[in-house]
């Protein structure tokens, strides 16, 4: 075995014409069996480092590469991608499956290597058993929850038995429980002696596993901490390093809701088909969001929390008038908003903001929203420049919205919500995968919306976001309100 799992000598990389964050002058030596976390703000180059290790650079992203990269003693650029001894798990659980059923997916990597069928089946069984995935065998990948998809992705990589694992923000879209399951899988990899490299913003769940933390900024390695030193950092020190609060904080509100009255939800029954869950090959179980009575304070930020599958997204869609369910009302001071009225008065920012940006420039996006604004809200109608100023996106005015980073896109959609003049803004997981800086910017935007008189409901797993902007917490558990 080579002395280094990964060795980089004076490596500088830029994507050239393609979008991506460059790295400069990186020296790195990862020992076999080491567990290393890469962190730092978006754009700092940690994803680029994962690509240098798994060979996507230079095999997929050509760019301009100088310096020397050795992965398990071999130079990725002179070996075909499939020869590299690296297993990769990516951020987006939806987009890393090549096949459409779980068992084939777990077998896929081993199949491609041309192993014997019997050996492939043995490895699939071993991966399923060691990760406790028996219930996920032979399922459609489209019927899995995000957490289940990530576990299947891990199993698929593990069936190849690589000596090095590379994960790029694998927990970005996961709730607490799924994140813990992911942690358990990584712990078995570490115990087996494999080298594990994880790029992450939220390091809390890796606390006991890391041997080393590398903090990147602007394409450079800024700081290196041993595992023990890292575990000693307190919240203030983490924040100064630009890191998310690592140690899993309890949910707590930032302030008390001002007394501006309530919107009232009552008698809501809303059936939904939950993805995921165990047991059946095709889950047909119908779950129901049932809320007898709930008061949402006006002019405040309400955080809607609960595990994946608890009904948060369904409730958000109902609030926005996207669902036809007839049982349940939303009322304002005793006056019921019918579905058509909810559609006019509520702005729903769904999880995937890429669907919600339609024009070719940030400024026209805001102007479009202003043009279609509801005239009857009674809130002051600001102009596009003021809105962009408020959300700190003025310098992006001429950019194409889809060329922005995830956090910037979120703010553009929030700006469109502001421009739409609607009184209620509902957001679904706006900070999934965002770094400290972007999360803080989104939190401030939500705070500003509420302070400007709008009612904000935000479905989220993100305790940092709740702490930074919420006045009120509502917890859903299996579709019902929990205390």
């Amino acid at each position: 075995m080579p002395d280094s799992a990964v060795r980089l000598d004076a490596v500088t990389f830029s994507y050239g014409a393609a979008a991506g964050d460059s790295l400069s002058d990186l020296e790195l030596d990862l020992r076999p069996g080491e567990f290393v976390a890469l962190t730092g703000p978006s754009g700092s180059g940690k994803t680029t480092l994962t690509r240098l290790i798994n060979g996507l650079i230079p095999h997929y992203y050509e760019g301009v590469l100088s310096g020397k990269v050795l992965v398990n003693g071999v130079d990725p650029s002179s070996h075909a991608l499939w020869r590299l001894p690296v297993g990769s798990v990516f951020q987006n659980p939806r987009a890393q499956f090549f096949t459409t059923d779980t068992t084939s997916e777990i077998a896929f990597g081993a199949e491609n290597l041309g192993l014997e069928a019997a050996e492939i089946l043995r490895r699939v069984d071993a991966a399923i058993e060691s990760m406790g995935l028996e219930e996920l065998r032979d399922r459609s990948v489209f019927a899995l929850s995000g957490g289940e998809k990530q576990r299947v992705a891990c199993a698929s990589v593990a069936a190849v038995r690589p000596p090095i694992y590379v994960l790029d923000e694998p927990s970005a879209n996961l709730d607490l429980e799924s994140t813990q399951q992911l942690r358990a899988i990584m712990a078995t990899w570490k115990a087996s002696g494999a080298t594990v490299v994880v790029a992450e913003h939220r390091l809390g769940y890796l606390r006991d596993l890391v041997d080393r933390v590398l903090i990147f900024a602007d394409g450079r390695l800024r700081q290196e901490l041993g595992g023990t030193d890292f575990r000693r950092l307190d919240e203030g020190q983490l924040r100064r390093l630009g890191l998310r609060c690592a140690w899993g904080r309890p949910l707590a509100v930032a302030s008390q809701a001002p007394d501006r009255g309530y919107l009232e939800v009552s008698g809501l029954r809303c059936g939904y088909r939950r993805v995921g869950g165990s047991g059946l090959a095709t889950p047909r179980r119908r779950d129901v969001v049932g809320i007898d009575q709930l008061r949402i304070p006006k002019g405040a930020v309400t955080a809607l929390v609960g595990a994946n599958g608890a009904g948060k997204t369904t409730f958000a869609a109902w609030l926005g008038g996207l669902r036809r369910d007839r049982r349940g009302t939303l009322s304002d001071g005793g006056r019921v908003w019918k579905r058509s009225e909810r559609r006019r008065r509520v702005f729903l920012v769904s999880q995937d903001v890429n669907h919600q940006l339609f024009t070719e420039a940030v400024s026209t996006e805001i102007e479009l929203a202003l043009r279609l604004a509801s005239p009857d809200s009674g809130l002051p109608a600001p102009d596009a420049a003021a809105i962009m100023n408020q959300l700190d996106i003025s310098d992006l005015a001429g950019r194409h919205p889809l060329s922005l980073s995830a956090g910037q896109k979120q703010r553009v959609v929030v700006a469109a919500a502001l421009a739409s003049g609607r009184e209620v803004v509902v957001l679904d997981e706006p900070t999934a995968g965002l770094d400290l800086g972007h999360m803080t910017a989104v939190a401030k935007a939500l705070r500003d919306l509420a302070d400007g008189g709008r009612t904000v409901v935000v479905a989220t797993h993100d305790a940092d976001l709740v702490a930074a902007c919420a006045d009120n917490i509502v917890r859903l558990d299996h579709g019902s309100l929990a205390n």
Binding site: N54, G55, L56, H59, Y60, A80, L81, W82, L84, V86, G87, S88, F90, N92, R94, A95, Q96, F97, F98, T99, T100, D101, T103, S104, A107, F108, G109, E111, N112, L113, G114, L115, E116, A117, I120, L121, V124, F142, V157, V160, A281, A317, G320, L322, R343, F347, L348, S350, D352, N354, H355, Q356, L357, F358, T359, L368, A369, L372, L402, S420
Partner: protein, 231 residues
């Protein structure tokens, strides 16, 4: 699972798609040709119903039978020029719809892993196998993304009436293309890191091969062609 009984081998599925389209566009009504068309019209309906898509199967069968009868009637009637137009339109529907519906059956029944196993077993080159698998893999994603865009347009109030047809089409299509392309890119990266780019034989564990349903489908096709040739 009874539905498993109605899933064909991917190669049989492709053969049905191909033969069905050839029959539809080369058979008329003369002799047994009309009967052959009826047999081939029925095949995808039976498969879809067996896969649990009863409503789609009945809707398709009703539409395609109506078009068939209308074509026959319009050709025989003394409507003159109008009759030719009616027969032309009805004929187009009755000949195109079975192929489209069979493609739908293929999409809902063939798994990507089986398609790859089947096409690789036919020793087709990689530049055929991989794009075919990618298209099949991306279709459900396109549908998911399309629903997302539609919902988002509803939220923003971007209706046809308020923004006009051209901008509406632009708002409907561009985000869909962008997100599908992005998904395709992430997909290919994931697949490449998992050895898809390797040359040489891959062993697939997906179970493919002739099963009773394949035999029945092949027999139905043979019968259809038989009555055509005999008539």
């Amino acid at each position: 699972m009874t539905r498993e009984l109605f899933r064909l081998d991917p190669r049989t599925t492709l053969l049905v798609v191909a033969v069905l389209n050839v029959v539809m566009f080369s058979a008329g009504f003369a002799g047994g040709a009309g009967w052959a068309r009826l047999v081939f019209m029925a095949i995808p309906a039976v498969l879809a119903a067996g896969l649990g898509r009863w409503i789609a199967a009945i809707g398709y069968l009703t539409a395609v039978c109506a078009a068939y009868v209308l074509e026959l009637w319009a050709l025989d009637s003394s409507l003159g020029g109008a009759g030719v137009i009616v027969a032309g339109v009805a004929g187009l529907v009755s000949r195109l719809a079975p192929g489209v519906f069979m493609a739908y059956v293929a999409v809902i029944s063939v798994r990507v892993s089986e398609l790859m196993a089947g096409l690789e077993a036919l020793r087709l080159p990689r530049f055929v196998v991989i794009p075919a698998a990618v298209v099949l893999r991306l279709l459900p994603t396109v549908r998911e993304e399309s629903r997302g865009v539609q919902a988002a347009m509803g939220v923003r109030g971007l209706s046809l009436g308020r923004v006009g047809p051209l901008p509406w089409l632009e708002y409907r299509i561009i985000p869909l293309i962008v997100s599908t392309v992005r998904c395709g890119e992430e997909l290919s990266q994931a697949a490449l890191t998992r050895g898809l780019g390797r040359h040489g034989q891959a062993n697939r564990i997906a179970r493919i091969g002739l099963r009773p349903a394949d035999v029945l489908a092949l027999a139905a096709m043979a019968a259809g062609i038989g009555v055509w040739v005999a008539g």
